[in-house]
């Protein structure tokens, strides 16, 4: 089943290779179906989730929907798939966002549609694969498969400085990932486990002493993932990539690609070397908090609407980093406290995965109509395009963390959960929240309120296509804002396991 979720888009991409490029409608249909099938399959899995068998095999302890086939036996590499709460929530998110991105591309991407859609489908295979795999080699393969399509999607269909943004994105991620590979191979060699299975490796590596080399390995992994998250100071590719990428790609970039990093941290770097993570928790915390405050201030200073939203991604993901640092510090003493922090932190990534794509989409709606993202040129939009403006206001409130919407819950729990670990220092992050709220209000005043500008008179209001994209995400944001329990339940078992593992590391 998981294999189907991963490879159905790839199969559709291969089929589309043989469709003539003038048949754009057919291509869109194929791409739409190719991304919808995984979503439907993911929903089926969600329905089966409570009754699904939980694996007890050492290679997939606590995972569901497990597949385990040898790949390169000689060095202990297997094609192992399986998901727990961390992975499955991400698969749901990713399979939901891809069809929406295909729809958002319709009539928006005009040039080389065939190439675009094929790359998009390959991207889907890569991201779904990362979230489902339990073998490091396989993980790395999918991790890198994401890279090339993304490079082209930004580099060919992006804005004016697209080439620069694309290669910057590519190089940052590649540097991170090659170093990460070296770190993982070092761990493989030094423990002599003879397998690249993530769980079996973690069982061996978590017992290693904190030495210079294990510290190197931890930071090799962490930096590889931190580039994707992005964690301060590895975030500088993100504003460029977001601003230059076309709207659907921005949605995917913020919604899913950043989550590859956060997921990898909870799946790989922290379970594998919890002892190092605990030792350096303060350092990671500092970077997380700097990210929160710095990104909030940077967002406030931008004149470009899209860049603001891009920086807000760095800001929100900072909460995840902070909570993760808190969890790794708390776990050895009190797993219960660590669970709170971790649950909050991971919820942030899920909420951000729903909100930020929508926000980018809202920016895109303005840009398509006014052809500018310059905040000084926009204004009075409530009077010209009221429904689009209302939608934007809604998502802005969600993004700034209004209670009752999904963004609030995660950040609030992260803050309270991190307090036992870092004391009043978490207030710095709280200040970041306030700054974020401030610039959202300022931006909304700029863009939405005020006199209607004559040059924007007569713009079309929201279209059916936009409503279809907007509705599911908005509903989920409200739903998880008032009733986060389904997600929390999904995460609970995985969080418990992870905090247990991290707790062992501190002893």
């Amino acid at each position: 089943m998981l294999s189907l979720i991963i490879f159905v888009p790839l199969v559709f991409a291969l089929v589309m290779l043989f469709v003539p490029k003038t048949q754009e409608r057919l291509l869109y249909w194929l791409a739409g179906i190719g991304t919808l099938i995984p979503f439907v399959l993911a929903l089926v899995l969600a329905a089966q989730w409570p009754t699904a068998e939980v694996s007890t095999a050492p290679y997939a302890q606590g995972m569901r929907f497990v597949t385990h086939v040898p790949w390169i036996d000689a060095i202990g590499v297997h094609y192992t798939l399986g998901v727990d709460g961390f992975g499955f929530t991400m698969i749901l998110l990713s399979t939901l966002l891809f069809p929406l991105a295909v729809l958002a591309s319709y009539k928006y991407i005009k040039d080389r549609v065939k190439d675009y859609l094929i790359l998009l489908l390959i991207l889907a295979t890569g991201t779904n694969g990362v979230f489902a795999t339990l073998d490091f080699m396989l993980f790395y393969v999918f991790w890198e498969i994401v890279l090339l399509p993304m490079y082209f999607l930004i580099g060919i269909w992006g804005g004016e400085r697209r080439e620069y943004a694309a290669i910057k994105f590519f190089l940052y991620t590649l540097i991170g990932s090659t170093i990460m590979l070296v770190g993982a191979i070092y761990l493989y060699v030094v423990t002599g486990v003879g397998t690249f299975n993530l769980l079996q490796m973690a069982a061996a590596t978590a017992k290693l002493p904190v030495t210079g080399l294990t510290t190197f390995a931890f930071f090799a992994l962490l930096v590889g993932f931190a580039v994707k998250v992005p964690m301060f100071p590895f975030h500088t590719w993100l504003p460029d990539a977001h601003v230059e990428a076309p709207t659907p790609i921005s949605m995917l970039l913020a919604g899913i690609l950043l989550k590859l990093g956060s997921y990898a941290m909870v799946r790989i770097s922290h379970p594998m070397l919890p002892q190092v993570a605990a030792r350096y928790a303060d350092l990671v915390f500092v970077f997380g908090v700097i990210g929160i405050v710095y990104a909030a201030l940077a967002a406030m200073a931008q004149k470009d609407f899209k860049k603001q939203v891009a920086y807000s991604s760095v800001n929100h993901m900072g909460f995840f980093i902070m909570a993760l640092a808190a969890a790794s510090k708390l776990a050895p003493q009190s797993p219960e406290l660590a669970q709170v922090a971790l649950q909050g932190g991971y919820f942030v990534t899920i909420a951000h995965g729903l909100i930020s794509p929508l926000f980018f989409f809202a920016v895109g709606m303005f840009y398509e109509r006014t052809h500018t993202r310059d905040l000084t040129k926009l204004g009075g939009m409530f009077l010209t395009i009221p429904v689009v403006s209302f939608a934007t206001a809604f998502v802005a409130f969600a993004n700034l963390g209004l209670p009752g919407l999904a963004g609030f819950i995660g950040e609030f729990i992260s803050l309270t959960g991190s307090y036992p670990a870092f004391g009043l220092w978490v207030l710095v992050a709280g200040a970041g929240m306030v700054i974020t709220a401030a610039w959202h209000l300022l931006t909304m005043r700029n863009v939405l309120l005020g006199e209607a500008k004559p040059e924007y008179r007569g713009l079309a209001d929201i279209t059916l296509k936009e409503k279809i994209i907007f509705a599911p995400l908005a509903v989920l944001i409200v739903l998880f804002g008032v009733y986060p329990r389904p997600i929390m339940e999904l995460l609970k078992a995985s969080v418990e396991v992870l905090t247990q593992v991290m707790g062992l590391g501190g002893m």
Binding site: I185, Y186, V189
Partner: protein, 505 residues
């Protein structure tokens, strides 16, 4: 019922691939005299090479040979000059595969530019291949050296085969002069080694160095000046063949000046064969403490220098053949990481070298197939000539992209697996710094591959579409299939390299 295995003498079975290549060479020379239709003769050449490749499977499945390999004591034949082990079979397969692809991709080029020496080109390719095959099939310094000379001398001719092109002449002459010096140095090193140990057989050299031989016995296992000099000369000689820094200076000029199909051949064949010979000599002959520590470190330094310098200089190139020359210097550096590791962790090191040689050959020949086509179409050898290739010929552009990805070492390509095994070997042997340097270098190399990708995909061109050539498209597709399938179905190859590695010492 006749039992073939009893009738056929295993000494012939062991050298069956060599015999087939020799026979093909002779047949082609003879037919060349009478046949006017040269292009059909090319098919005879290709057929011979493919037949030789298939015959490896026959040799390897011979009962006696198989039983001996399984027992850990591979058989040697012809006065212990030829050894039938997994290493031999693997490398012969790779080398013959390289020859086959080069013959396939060179068809149109040779017909267009080498009218006067049509079949000579293929005859020399066969001769070089034969030399390389002997080079990797022996545990005796003499056979290794003779094989190396056969392949080198033929290579000099190959580099200068465009007689009316001054650049090709220069390449030939330069290759010949520097190559001759390197061969002499190598031979001198071999003679010193012989002088100290009293034998040319590598296993005996190893025993002698460990303290069992007549000359060393007096001094005990120590680094005598003679041995140090011998080892150093060997390194210089082999280092020249693989174009490792600082013995790399010939490579860019020769790669640029030689006809493009020849460059394709040079970048994959002689390099791979020399790597294999290095493994045989150093792991099999000099793999004895305290020598191992010394040569491992020197190869590690050469690896670091080669990849860093190769990649940094490649960034500056505008001629794509020259760029690929520096890229191949960097790639040699990567492979040397495996060589260095093989001194300390021979199983991981050797199998990683073997796998990477194969991965590199498959990938690089695909690249050079496209380069050859661009060269023969319009003499396009500058990076700027590749503008808009994605529109002019999508197959070539996407294939080049995938090949570059493989050279950088990004999955899902065979180059990634190759790099991965090198990383593992380096980490296992304690050369973590080398692994990190290699990772950094992979990222540097993106810089110049990216330039080509950028002009191909992001720049527009007014030039008309490129008509594909059958031979070249076939090579590109074969390489593409190889690059992808060797990743997905890597397991048998990984096991094969691991088995080959186990018997070397």
């Amino acid at each position: 019922m006749l039992n073939w295995s009893q009738l056929v003498n295993p000494s012939y079975v062991a050298v069956l691939p060599h015999l087939i290549v020799t026979a093909t060479l002779l047949v082609v020379i003879l037919l060349d005299v009478w046949f006017k239709e040269k292009r059909s003769l090319v098919w005879v050449t290709l057929g011979g090479v493919v037949l030789a490749m298939l015959s490896i499977w026959y040799s390897a499945s011979d009962e006696q040979i198989r039983a001996a390999i399984a027992a850990g004591k591979p058989l040697e034949f012809w006065g212990d000059m030829i050894i039938a082990d997994g290493f031999t079979f693997f490398m012969n397969g790779v080398l013959l595969g390289i020859a086959a692809l080069v013959i396939l991709l060179s068809g149109d080029y040779v017909a267009k530019f080498l009218r006067g020496a049509h079949m000579e080109f293929y005859e020399i390719i066969l001769a070089v291949t034969l030399g390389m095959m002997f080079m990797v099939s022996s545990r005796d310094l003499l056979t290794i050296y003779i094989g190396l000379e056969l392949s080198s001398i033929s290579s000099y001719v190959l580099a200068g085969i465009l007689r009316k092109d001054p650049r090709s002449n220069e390449a030939g002459l330069k290759y010949f002069l520097t190559g001759a010096v390197a061969s002499a140095v190598l031979l001198f090193g071999l003679s010193l080694l012989f002088g100290v140990t009293g034998t040319t057989r590598l296993p005996d050299i190893a025993t002698a160095l460990a303290g069992g031989g007549p000359v060393v016995a007096a001094a005990g296992p120590a680094l005598t000046p003679l041995l140090v000099a011998g080892m150093a000369f060997l390194m210089v000689g082999f280092g020249f063949k693989i174009a490792a820094v600082p013995m790399h200076l010939w490579a860019p000029d020769v790669y640029e000046g030689a006809p493009t199909p020849v460059t394709a051949f040079f970048s994959a064949g002689p390099k791979g064969a020399a790597m294999a010979a290095i493994l045989r000599v150093f792991v099999g002959g000099l793999g004895v403490a305290p020598f191992t520590d010394k040569w491992t470190l020197i190869w590690a330094v050469a690896a670091a220098a080669s990849m860093t310098l190769g990649n940094l200089v490649a960034l500056q190139q505008t001629n794509i053949k020259r760029m690929m020359a520096y890229s191949s210097i960097a790639q040699a550096g990567y492979i040397l990481v495996g060589v260095a590791a093989s001194g300390l962790q021979s199983a991981e090191g050797i199998s990683s070298v073997l796998f990477y040689v194969m991965a590199y050959a498959v990938t690089n020949l695909g690249i050079f197939a496209v380069l050859t086509h661009m060269d023969q179409e319009g003499g396009w050898v500058e990076v700027d000539n590749y503008k808009g290739l994605a529109k002019r010929n999508p197959l070539y552009a996407w294939a080049l992209l995938l090949f570059f990805v493989s050279l950088i070492g990004i999955p899902p390509t065979v180059g990634f697996l190759g790099k991965f095994f090198l990383f593992r070997a380096a980490a296992a042997s304690g050369y973590l710094w080398l692994a990190v340097l290699m990772a950094v270098n992979s990222v540097i190399s993106v810089g110049y591959y990216y330039r080509v990708v950028k002009v191909m995909f992001l720049d527009a061109s007014d030039d008309p579409a490129l008509t594909p050539s059958t031979g070249i498209s076939a090579t590109v597709v074969l390489s593409l299939v190889g690059v992808v399938l060797l990743t997905i179905f890597a397991n048998p190859f990984v096991q094969w390299t691991a088995q080959s590695a186990a018997l070397l010492k």
